[in-house]
Amino acid sequence: MNKKTTERLWILFFIAPALAVVCMIILLPLFMSLFNSLFSWKQLIRQDFIGLENFRKVFFTEPYRTRFFNALRNNGLWFIITMLIQNVGGLLIGYFLSRRIWAHEFYKRIIFIPVLFSIVAVGFLWSLYLRPNGLVNGFLKIVGLPNWTRAWLGDESIATFSIIFVNIWRWIGFPSLVFLAAIDNVPMDCLEAAWLDGASDRQVFFSVILPLIVPSILIITVLTIIGSLNVFEQIYTMAGLDGSPNFSTDTIGTLFYRTAFGSVDSGNPEIGIGSAIGVIIYLLTFLASVFSIVALGKKEVEL
């Protein structure tokens, strides 16, 4: 055996196991989703090729149309509120931690605690606290705000917001510490130059720090998009698979699950329509990621 062949065999030996698993579990199912979405299905048996009919059903036929756009709207809400509150909040937390405020090491460890917990445990914990006779309403009564008590998870108009806030409670430590690491990496000479020019803290933040941490902002934005499109456990634990009350908390994730394994229409699993929704999730994730990379990539500053 010559040297070249031996090396080829070694390369194959090293990459084959991982390649096999990734192809079988990640790539093959991706193509199968695409393929399956183009057929009509009777339970788990594939029937005829019907082109884009399943996609047409999702977008234009009841009950899918209402359910789908209702869910998509909620995913959009998840993205916007998470960006505004969790990521902007995380940026502020990261900034102040980087200024070495009193007890910053302690705060840093505290805000990261819930990041480690499973969504399921956090969801159930807060679902107990948010019950009408739970801790949150109890607290509001004690501090003299009995008018503020709500059925936090039972009221259509606020249930989604309650669940989003629980998720922010769990996850805000993540962007905070990513931004902290990014700000800590801003080169000292850039900051010193700004100070010598007499820049205020605010000017330093907006004109020096912010442009230099664009890569981190980009990563957090992409992760937020992916996270918002894949919301599932939060709804499952706090509102149930149906996105109750009255589908007000429904998301693409829960709708997808119900279509694939339960019932939206006929009471049977709808493999074709379910696959179409799966493909839509893939596409939205991909497009949104590409869009933010292009949009924010232009603003990146090269040192």
């Binding site: 196991p17 093959l28 499973s118 399921v120 914990l125 607290f139």
Partner: protein
């Protein structure tokens, strides 16, 4: 790094800002701390006590609910399942992942970039969206209700990021080390095992935390694939328990404490590693 924001010698306007920021941080720490504290004290109370005096400390340390949840309701089993499923998955993630990282970072060949991109694509693709074909695949392989199905998926979940992070580290190791070893008669496996792996040991601990936490916490795939109580991991066991005993508040809080406390204790001792590991994918 920016300058310190401290009270000493600060201008009056800045002093107000600093005090305001401190109050905000203290309040937020309480918002994180108190729900966890209340969960633990509630697990020692009776349901009546929890509902009548939600903020009061328990009258006595009553561990009986722990015995009920851990032994009678099977949480010992769920906990053990989570431990071994996470351990087995991670073993393969680390083995296959480090091997593949070695294969894409230490050789020069034509297909290298293509193979690397193929692995990387897995980071962006939401695996949950493929649950229908995955379910049919596992059904055909007769792996439904068999923990192997979930473990296979966990391995696939962990591989892309592991390969991404480890190959980044491996690329920085000088080739000279490898040439020296080759002259001493080492083959490629021995170079991987005896030279590369020891050098990247810190990165291994990083990817272990990065992947083990989401695998330990995963709920979706066990929900789809595991119905038999014998194989249920903690998050799934917790879910079924909440469905069955939704009015036994003290048992629910006990179950939550069992699910959350071990992670919390581990974190207290290893906070630095957890923070570094969890943010590894997003921090350079």
């Amino acid at each position: 790094m920016t300058s310190d924001l401290r009270l000493k010698n600060a201008a009056p306007a800045k002093k107000i800002l600093i005090i305001f920021v401190q109050i905000a941080f203290i309040c937020y720490s309480l918002i994180i701390f108190y729900p966890l504290f209340n969960m633990i004290i509630s697990s020692f109370k009776s349901t009546r006590e929890i509902l009548r005096f939600p903020f009061a400390l328990p009258q006595k340390l009553d561990f009986s609910s722990y015995k009920i949840v851990w032994v009678d309701k099977g949480f010992g089993r769920f906990f053990f399942n989570s431990v071994w499923m996470t351990a087995v998955s991670m073993l393969f993630v680390l083995l296959f992942g480090s091997m593949a990282a070695y294969g894409v970072s230490r050789y020069a060949y034509r297909m290298r970039t293509a193979v690397y991109m193929l692995f990387l694509s897995g980071i962006m693709l939401p695996l949950k969206a493929a649950i229908i074909p995955l379910f049919m695949l596992m059904k055909n392989l007769r792996l439904v209700d068999n923990p192997i199905s979930v473990i296979l998926i966990f391995i696939a979940m962990g591989l892309p990021s592991t390969i991404f992070i480890l190959s980044g580290f491996m690329k920085t190791i000088p080739k000279d080390l490898e040439y020296a070893a080759r002259i001493d008669g080492c083959n490629d496996w021995m170079i991987y095992r005896k030279i590369i792996m020891p050098v990247i040991a810190p990165a291994i601990s990083l990817v272990t935390i990065y992947n083990a936490v989401p695998i330990w916490n995963d709920f979706f795939f066990p929900l789809v694939f595991l119905q038999n109580p014998k194989y249920k991991p903690l998050p799934l066991g917790l879910t079924n328990f909440f469905g069955q005993y939704s009015t036994d508040w003290n048992l629910l809080f006990t179950a939550l404490t069992i699910a959350i406390l071990p992670v919390l204790i581990l974190y207290i001792f290893m906070a630095k590693y957890f923070i570094k590991g969890m943010t590894a994918g997003a921090v350079k």
